[in-house]
């Protein structure tokens, strides 16, 4: 049992992000209510951010802000002390993108409800066809 634990720890984040993504994807495709689909879309995007952040993690490394001890002259900065700043930078952009899409999708939902008075996919299809 005890050799199984490191294996789980080694890949746990990556299995979990796949499960989260699949929850989001399932909600986007199978759910009937438009708002639920939008929530599924946001969970789908947040799962990818989880994947990127878990790439950048290093065990017992501190947050990516330089310690005052390292800034003294002549002190060489060891890369293993800090986590990977690049993935954090990329994920700031991904969060902004997911908020922008989420805000715009909510505006669309308000607009659709104002015109059709329903947010259910099947009722919408009926009202569209008549």
């Amino acid at each position: 049992m005890n050799d199984l634990l490191p294996l789980i720890v080694a890949k746990y984040n990556y299995w979990m992000y796949v499960i989260l993504m699949m929850i989001g994807l399932y909600a986007m495709i199978a759910k009937n209510n438009l708002v639920k689909k939008v929530v599924g879309m946001n969970i789908f995007q947040t799962a990818i951010i989880l994947f990127y952040v878990s790439i950048g993690y290093k065990t017992d490394a501190s947050i990516p802000i330089i310690k005052s001890s390292d800034t003294a002259h002549g002190m060489v900065v060891r890369a293993a002390d800090y986590i990977n700043p690049l993935t954090s930078c990329l994920m700031l952009t991904a969060i902004v993108v997911s908020v922008a899409t989420f805000g715009f999708a909510m505006a669309l939902i308000v607009r659709i409800y104002r015109r059709y008075q329903t947010l259910e996919e099947d009722e919408l299809r009926m009202r569209l066809s008549e």
């Binding site: 720890v9 080694a10 890949k11 746990y12 984040n13 990556y14 299995w15 796949v18 499960i19 993504m21 699949m22 994807l25 399932y26 495709i29 199978a30 878990s54 790439i55 950048g56 993690y57 290093k58 065990t59 490394a61 947050i63 990516p64 802000i65 330089i66 390292d70 800034t71 060489v76 900065v77 890369a79 293993a80 002390d81 800090y82 986590i83 990977n84 700043p85 690049l86 993935t87 954090s88 930078c89 990329l90 700031l92 952009t93 902004v96 993108v97 908020v99 922008a100 899409t101 805000g103 715009f104 909510m106 505006a107 669309l108 308000v110 607009r111 104002r114």
Partner: protein, 273 residues
């Protein structure tokens, strides 16, 4: 429909899990992702840009081009909400209650609004009457939220935070103002025109600072070339980053307010949550 979804989900899930088979372990410092480029950032950032926070240095300086387009993305969202929801016609009829006598006035397509207060009270199914405790607490709280937001923008280089997070906090203080009072007071206090101008100028500040580097002889986002413009002896790149952060903060603050106002009032900017 649910059956197709299950098939698609299980297929993509299997593909992704197959991909993770040969991943390096989670968190080991010798994985290729944390060796190649990210070591350069960790070792060289403080020397070159004098900014303690690596992430802000990478976001605004090394990969500043990405962040400019990220700000353009949030600008597109705000503009999209404005274009989609805004209707200038506005509601025609308004209801007022004359408080002393209790008579309800039905004003048809009145351009002029009666002054609510002692004499008249606004009556509308969306209009939420002011709650005294809520109003006073928020009136005390909002200035401190805004100061905190300015702190977050200003200290982007030193502590976690930066233009985008500060802008969102400032925007949410405006939203808190709209919720605690009512949307009408926020729209009167901060005109839609000012929000529109602030949103565009914020992103323009970012793109402008980046574009000024070109006539100064550098490539597109080369803050180093801005040295002649800034006081001598200052850390040019750190100041360039700060200027860009301020631009992002202004833009995001205005855009959060625009999106909220348009969603909550269905574009009529009269009554909302």
């Amino acid at each position: 429909m649910k059956f197709i979804a299950l098939i698609v989900v299980s297929l993509t899930g299997a593909l992704l899990l197959y991909g993770t088979a040969e991943f390096p372990d989670w968190g080991d410092p010798s994985s290729p992702a944390s060796l190649h480029v990210s070591n350069y950032y960790i070792e060289k950032t403080y020397e070159e840009t004098h900014a303690p926070n690596f992430v802000t240095a990478v976001v605004t300086d090394y990969r500043g081009f990405d962040t400019m387009f990220e700000t353009a993305v949030i600008f597109c969202a705000g503009l999209g909400c404005f274009l989609l929801l805004r209707d200038f016609t506005g509601k025609k009829e308004h209801f007022y209650r004359h408080i002393p006598t209790g008579v309800i006035l039905h004003v048809k397509n009145g351009k002029k609004k009666l002054t609510t207060g002692k004499e008249f009270e606004y009556m509308d199914k969306d209009w939420v009457p002011h709650d005294l405790i809520n109003k006073t607490v928020c009136r005390i709280l909002i200035p401190f939220i805004q100061i905190y937001a300015l702190y977050v923008v200003a200290h982007g280089d030193y502590s976690p935070g930066g233009g985008f997070q500060g802008g969102v906090i400032f925007g949410s203080s405006l939203i808190l103002f709209a919720i605690s009072y009512d949307l009408q007071t926020l729209v009167e206090r901060i005109k839609e025109k000012i929000l529109g101008i602030l949103a565009a100028t914020g992103v323009l500040i970012y793109a402008g600072i980046a574009a000024i580097c070109m006539p100064m002889g550098g490539n597109f986002i080369d803050y180093g070339k801005l040295a002649p413009l800034l006081p001598a002896g200052s850390h040019v790149r750190a100041l360039g980053m700060l200027g860009v952060e301020i631009g992002v903060g202004i833009a995001v603050m205005a855009i959060m307010a625009i999106i909220y106002i348009n969603i909550v009032s269905e574009g009529r900017h009269d009554e909302g949550l």
